[in-house]
Amino acid sequence: MDALTLFGIFVLLPLVGALVSYFGKKYAPIIAVIFTGISGIFLYLWYGNFGSYTIDIGVKLNLTFDITTWFFMLMMNTVIFSSLLFSVSSKLKRAGGFATLMLLGFAGANGVLLARDFLSLYLFWELMSWSIYLLVLRTSGEYARRYLLFGVLSAYLLIMGIGIIYYYTGSFLYADALSGAIPHAIWPWILTFLILGFGIKMAIVPFHVWAPYAYSSEQPFVAFLSGGLSKLGAFGIFMSMYSIAGISLLQSFGTFRGVSLMGYPFALLGAATAFIGTILAIFQDDIRKLLAYSSIGQLGYVMIGLGLGTPLAIGGAMFHAFNHAFFKSLLFLGAGAVIYRTGKYKISEMGGLGYRMPFTFMFVLFAIFALAGIPLTSGFISKWMLYEAAISRKFVIVAPLMLIASVGAYLYSYRILYGVFLGQLKDEDKNVKEAPGPMLAAMFILMVPLVIFSIVPGWILGWINKILVENGIGKLNYTTFSYSSAIGGANMAVFWIAFILLLIFAMLMFMAKKARVVDQYDNYLAGEAPPSVALHAAHNYYKPLRDTWAPLLKHSIDRAYEKFSKFFAGGFYEIKRIYTGNPQDYAAYLGIAFLAFLLVGWWLLW
């Protein structure tokens, strides 16, 4: 493999695909699926075939294909493949543009993952950023604008970090940053700029306000955005903290219970994100917004892990990022399937769809297990690793916030389960059919890893362990079926044996008893019901909880931003007044400028 092959397969091929699929009309998603499939195949074939390369397009792009890149590319590729597969049957308007932009975003994401110098990082970062912008623009210009402002803010924070490094080293290479040219006291600035810049893409509080809007776009895209692209934030933070700066540099800023003081504030920020995201998710009635806030909350967990920086924490963060890529895109696709079939967004207007869409229900159920950390799925292991990482170092703020957020995750998961799939089927939904084949296939692909890695976490922990060892962070204690830590660990073999035994026992119990299926109304109303009664109590769900939290919820970061921007816009109109429109004033400006120049010049001379 040489530089051009690597670059060609992972960046140029999606770009070519973007061009081709634009003219594909309604076959565009299929063409796009084929293109991502090809780079996916090469991704699997080239495992272990790692190396560093340089591409010269006038500026030098330094690319490295290593285990970290491979691990993140694996998520990215699977998620975009299934999202595009899903979109094959979702009858999007202007499907050509959709496929093109998805592939552009994919190319950008691959570029960010391969980049090992700041120029190419920034180049691909912006490429990805604006293709997301245009994808959101397909739904709503206002949402897109909000997204773009934060996207650009993220890019400019990165620029500040990159620029400071460039000032001291005169080089864009990641590897040169540690050459010792950068004074020790400057590093906190650099890291803060970089982490906040990447954090915006992960929707870290207080930069999360773009997410609920952007996540209300077309579901196949949102699945890729939330599942795939938001992981670039995690990747970037990982790279800047543990590859560019390195663990020993982080530790040199002092430690708190063994955790670097550079990392701990970000862990706190992550905990706040997990908490706020979850709390807000509980009270959403729009399924897209609910999933969006949930996504914010879950990425907060990843941030906690990256901030704490122990091998267990980073391992947990990586694993959780991986899980989140799959379960959150699965949830968005599941929501997409439901929305595609019913045309409704509000949870309170749905209900009972589990009877009509059993496969979708099953896939979403697994995703929710993973989200809530229930041990049928790999979501349990990653969350447990993060808890242990926080508990073992006795972090009394981080750990409780994580636990509260986890309880909150149960609450909103249940809201989806009950509100959408269980309960009473609405009359107008009586004719709803199961989602079409490609959609189900897409969701199935995403569900498989969640179950597999729950049975054999050792496989994925092997990759993560390699990442940790390569970056000099430490190593994990794991076997094929279990991992262990200082305060416990988890053995999935024991769990699965127990689970299967219990399942068989439950099946036997179930089969021993004869059950009779009755209509919903018979159960509730003793057979005396009028033809239609609303038995589905999904409206104003969690109202008591909402009342309890009301004093907290009345503060909104959204509104703070709006006030902020109004304040500035007002100032801009004041500044505008200098362009009076009167040529006499303008001529006077010229004279004043001439004098000012002259005086400054002479003063400098003097």
């Binding site: 500026v59 402002l149 505008k576 400028a593 001379l605």
Partner: protein, 474 residues
């Protein structure tokens, strides 16, 4: 082997040919400018290849420099001349849409504008530069008032006032230099600049800097920009942003690097650039009128270029030149698209243009242009902005860059607001299909923007010569 003087002589020839052609056919004149600009662009391309080998010096009339007039074409001058003529060619296709008479005079002035701007870039003589500046300005004044309505007249009037004061400053600077050094050849001035009295030197620099700053849209000399751009016909607004502005900023670069080699005064140029960006972007945010918004945005971009020149490292000046190219292409594209939008909406207000860009023939080039102006990869605007920023960092201008980035966020905010409105859904019935004279130049410009953004190697190879340029070479 072609002589650079052809680039100036041919447009002049065609300009004076056009009234004769106009006797037979008014339509023929329109195609004549397309042909003339295409020919000029081709010649400029060949000249660029020549200049890459070694700088081309063209001695006019057999008088040897430093006494005679000389054209001095380095790789950088050649590429700017090439881009100016290329954009002029794209705009001349859009000129087919100009309906107002007298088209013959319009064509003449347009060709004079092209010729003047090209001349400003190619010349190696200070007084010659002033002559071309005047040619450019006078052609611009005429074109700015071409619509013969109140907006046009007012804009042109402001342009005339500010522009003539600017020209006077240039003349003052030239007089100061000539009185001290007895020469007008740029290289000769550069060789002897050390012998000048330092106070006079500062004054000469200030005069020239401000004089060319008027064309380069520098704060606070850019007050004519919004009115003149707004009142001019749409192709002329596009041309203003791409031809005289680029020529003006190139002249500024000549003043800064070729003639005066200041090092301690450059931070002041950076501050002026920053102020230009700041006021340009902030006032653009408040505009409700599309062409005025683009005009202020143009000010912002020119400020960025001036900043790049002022930072003065190889990387930053490379970025400034890349940005000149990108801005010439991108802003011309946006103004042409704006012309279509105004025509389709029958109003210059942005809020009246709901959904007008939903036709992909307009929409996709429009997006490419806007993203390029915002500095997004893989479009032309990316490298210029990035290099200027990194050059600024390498000189330690942290605070200035931070303020600049804040202004850039404002820029993104108003472009996103504009894009939001023109792509809004719900107005499908009123969306008009553009005709070929509109979408062909848009597509040409968009393709160039994408190509030099995706594969910047050719441009960057040319811009490698920036080191010699800064050191005072051609």
């Amino acid at each position: 082997m072609i002589r650079p003087v052809l680039l100036i002589a041919l447009p002049l020839f065609f300009a004076f040919l056009s009234p004769i052609i106009g006797i037979w056919s008014k339509k023929g004149v329109r195609y004549l400018i397309i042909f003339a600009t295409a020919l000029n662009a081709t010649l400029a391309g060949i000249l660029l290849l020549e200049a890459l080998q070694k700088p081309v010096f063209d001695i006019i009339g057999g008088f040897q420099p430093p006494l005679g007039i000389v054209l001095m074409v380095g790789p950088l001058g050649a590429i700017i001349a090439f881009i100016i003529n290329l954009v002029a060619f794209a705009i001349s296709i859009y000129n087919l849409k100009v309906e107002k008479e007298p088209i013959v005079r319009y064509s003449m002035l347009y060709l004079l504008l092209v010729m003047g701007s090209t001349g400003m870039v190619l010349t190696g003589d200070l007084f010659n530069l002033f002559v071309f500046l005047e040619v450019t300005s006078i052609a611009s004044y005429g074109l700015a008032a071409y619509n013969k309505d109140k907006k046009g007249y007012l804009g042109a009037m402001k342009y005339v006032i500010i522009g003539s004061i600017g020209s006077t400053f240039v003349l003052l600077g030239i007089a100061l230099i000539y009185s001290q050094l007895r020469t007008l050849n740029m290289l000769d001035i550069a060789a002897r600049i050390g012998t000048m009295d330092p106070y006079v030197k500062i004054m000469a620099f200030t005069s020239l800097f401000l004089g060319f700053g008027v064309e380069a849209e520098m704060f606070p000399l850019n007050t004519w920009v919004p009115d003149a751009y707004d009142g001019a016909p749409h192709p002329i607004s596009a041309a203003f942003a791409s031809l005289p502005a680029k020529a003006g900023v190139f002249a500024l670069a000549r003043v800064i690097f070729t003639m005066f080699s200041f090092t301690n005064f450059l931070w002041f140029v950076v501050v002026m650039g920053l102020l230009t960006v700041f006021f340009g972007e902030i006032v653009a945010y408040t505009q409700k009128d599309l062409k005025r918004m683009l005009a202020y945005s143009s000010i912002g971009q020119m400020g960025m270029i001036i900043m790049g020149l002022g930072i003065g490292t190889t990387l930053a000046v490379e970025g400034a030149f890349y940005q000149m190219i990108a801005h010439a292409l991108g802003k011309a594209l946006l103004f042409i698209a704006a012309g279509f939008l105004i025509y389709a909406a029958r109003s210059g207000k942005i809020e009246d243009m709901k959904g007008m860009a939903r036709n992909p023939l307009i929409g996709i080039p429009l997006l490419i242009g806007a993203l390029s102006i915002m500095g997004m990869p893989p479009f032309a605007g990316f490298y210029g902005k990035f290099f200027i920023l990194m050059g600024g960092f390498s000189q330690g201008y942290y605070a200035i860059i931070a303020l600049f980035l804040a202004a850039s966020i404002v820029e993104v905010a108003y472009y996103a607001r504009f894009i939001k409105i023109v792509f809004e859904r719900g107005n499908e019935s009123k969306v008009i299909r553009p005709d070929a004279a509109t979408y062909v130049p848009l597509i040409i410009l968009a393709i160039i923007i994408v190509v030099i953004g995706v594969y910047p190697k050719p441009i960057l190879t040319v811009l490698q010569h920036v080191g010699t340029f800064i050191a005072g070479g051609a």
